[in-house]
């Protein structure tokens, strides 16, 4: 039986397909736990002044949806808007006060004076003080109107919360569809709101551990397509890829350094998993840990000086840190039976981890300054936390029945979203950096 299994795998390996094909399934996002104090805001439909037909879903409704999903805003429904002002002079502030909204956003979409693409021109006002809070033009290419809308949402979010938005970003995840021999793994990249999913790699063999380059243009990941684990780096836009590591034993857990010149990875060529750092320009590979324990899941501090990793050198898995230039490893997490797979907050002051107790695994944040553990999610099989580039949310993998789904939780634990793909088992999410 096992021999035929090997043959089947060999056969499937021969049928391995790679390339970019559009995934059919799209992510649906819903709030399962909201914040009590949401800011009421009205994003009035933007006037379409460009030459072609307006898109079915307008810019304003993409903006409203983004703000709603953050859990911090209560955008007004379009059909409740009794008035649709386009310029500042025609806003009847008294009316909007009666509608109990605090902020109003108006705008228009024009053809770009450069001849290609669009200019989204918009303004935001405080309904109570009538003060103009924002007045901006966002220019986008011909196919990027949705992306432009996400940037508008980012600007509104930053103005009203003091934190840069993370709507104009992307997420990578692995989906598994089918059963048994027809099981197909896909590494998918989608906009942060689940739109525009693109299959970056498809394989009948497991794919895992996607990690973004700091410019958001490449993904490093682990693929079993050759029978053993191997690390690839692939350009998202072109599909061009490079085999980075496929030595004997484990080739796992790749993580780009913040400057993009190096990759931290796990190799077990010495007989057990150790952390290494590879310079992507010189291919020089340096061993960072040396211990009989399992050392894996390296991740970089934002300044690139420290590498956090998982090790069971103390008996059970805990997070340790080591200088990225080499040195002595020190234990970081000191509470809980099982702490693994750190994702460092963009401010470098906390790490999100998978925290296990008995058979229950939850996403938690370990505050590096105070040495305090905060559990953020209900469990029971939550893993793979990934911070949004603005630190506001943590994307993670969880289970619904026997199916893997994605969720996101705010860094304070107050807002939780469920992100559902229409089919398949979804896991291994990774939130992209801010895309310029």
């Amino acid at each position: 039986m096992t021999v035929t299994d090997t043959m089947k795998r060999l056969l499937l390996a021969l049928l391995f397909i790679t390339g970019a094909s559009a995934a059919q399934a799209r992510l649906e996002i819903e709030i399962v736990q909201g914040n009590a104090a949401q800011l009421p805001i009205a994003v009035v439909p933007f006037q379409w002044r460009a030459a072609g037909q307006p898109p079915i879903t307008g810019v304003a409704s993409v903006v409203s949806d983004d703000l709603y999903r953050s859990g911090l805003f209560a955008p007004m429904d379009e059909k409740d808007m009794v008035d649709r002002p386009v310029d500042a002079e025609s806003i009847k502030f008294g009316t909007w006060r009666l509608l109990k909204t605090d902020y109003i956003v108006i705008g228009q979409v024009n053809d770009s004076p450069s001849g290609s693409g669009f200019d989204i021109v918009y303004q935001m006002f405080d309904v109570h003080t009538q003060e103009r809070l924002l007045s901006q033009i966002t220019s986008v290419g011909p196919g990027d109107l949705r992306f432009g809308a996400h940037r508008v949402a980012d600007a509104i979010y930053e103005k009203l919360t003091g934190v840069p938005g993370a709507f104009a970003t992307r997420i990578a995840y692995v989906s598994a569809t089918g059963e048994g021999d027809s099981l197909q793994y896909e590494l998918v990249v989608a906009d942060a709101d689940g739109f525009n999913p693109i299959t970056v790699v498809g394989s009948p063999e497991p794919l895992l551990s996607p990690s973004w380059s700091p410019d958001g243009e490449k993904l490093a990941y682990v693929s079993f397509e050759q029978g053993n684990s191997a690390i690839y780096v692939q350009e998202v836009a072109t599909g061009a890829r490079e085999l980075v590591s496929s030595g004997k034993g484990i080739n796992g857990a790749p993580a780009f350094s913040p400057d993009g010149t190096k990759i931290a990875l796990t190799l077990s060529r010495t007989g057990n998993p150790e952390i290494y750092v590879r310079d992507l320009r010189t291919n020089d590979t340096r061993q960072l840990t040396q211990h009989w324990a399992i050392d894996t899941e390296p991740t970089w501090s934002p300044d690139g000086r420290t590498i956090y990793f998982t090790s069971d050198r103390g008996g059970r898995p805990q997070i340790y840190q080591v200088p990225a230039s080499g040195g002595t490893a020190e234990r970081v997490t000191r509470e809980g039976d099982y702490n693994a797979r750190a994702s460092v907050a963009p401010d470098g002051r906390s790490i999100a981890i998978a925290n296990g107790r008995g058979n229950e695994y939850r996403i938690a944040v370990w505050e590096l300054d105070h040495g305090r553990l905060r559990i953020l999610t209900p469990g029971v099989l939550d893993e793979s936390p990934s911070f949004a580039p603005n630190g506001s949310m943590i994307l993670y993998a969880t289970r619904e029945g026997s199916r893997g789904v994605l969720s996101a939780v705010s860094a304070d634990g107050n807002v939780r979203q469920r992100i559902i793909l229409s089919e398949g088992d979804v896991r291994e999410p990774a939130w992209s950096p801010v895309i310029r």
Binding site: T2, V3, T4, D5, T6, M7, K8, L10, L11, L14, P206, L208, S209, F224, G227, N228, S229, G249, I250, G252, A253, T266, S268, G271, N272, P273, I294, T296, E297, T310, D312, R316, P317, Y338, A340, R341, A354, G356, N359, Y361, V380, L381, E383, S384, R399, S402, R427, E428
Partner: protein, 176 residues
């Protein structure tokens, strides 16, 4: 090794053809193939001693330990438990007796814990079996450890009834 690979490829193609045939002609099982007849003749004419671990026929003999090729582990543990040591010893005896034997030890973990840590755990389990096989006479060049972590579960329900089946090392012969 090259021949073994070529054989595997040929078998893989044959498997693909038969798999396709199954899809298109569901009534094929009414006519037994002559190949099956001859193998039956061999097994009935000379039944192997189940304790002769140098006899390759015992791989398909349910009476023999050689027919058992999966070793199970406790949660987050990689020691081979006493009850599986005799199975590993039987395979060590076979591998030591057959210089052409090539074995891949596929290490696996259950779904609890993180995927990359479980890759490490699967490898550690594979290494445990590797150590026992080597101690039993298998040569290093005959053995290979590959960890799949939690990526290839046998069973997909989130309870211990299922998890124990997934915490395993599969002893896979790529050549006998």
């Amino acid at each position: 090794m090259k021949i073994a690979l070529r054989l595997l490829l040929a078998l893989a193609v044959a498997f693909a053809v038969s798999a396709c045939r199954k899809d298109t002609q569901p009534v094929e099982d009414t006519t037994p193939t002559p190949v099956e007849d001859t193998t039956e003749d061999v097994t009935t004419s000379a039944a192997p001693d189940p304790r002769d671990y140098t006899d390759a026929r015992n791989f398909d003999n349910p009476e023999s330990l050689l027919s058992k090729r999966v070793v199970y582990f406790d949660f987050d543990k990689s020691e081979v438990k006493a009850e599986y040591r005799s199975i590993v010893a039987a395979h060590a005896a076979y591998i030591a007796s057959s210089s052409s034997a090539q074995v891949t030890l596929e290490g696996h973990a259950d779904e609890r814990g993180t995927r990359e840590y479980n890759l490490g755990l699967g490898e550690r389990r594979g290494n445990s079996v590797n150590g026992l096989l080597s101690a039993g006479g298998a040569r290093g060049g005959q053995l290979d450890v590959v960890s799949y972590g939690e990526e290839r579960p046998i069973c997909r329900v989130s309870d211990e009834d299922c998890w124990w089946k997934n915490r395993r090392v599969e002893i896979v012969y790529t050549a006998r």
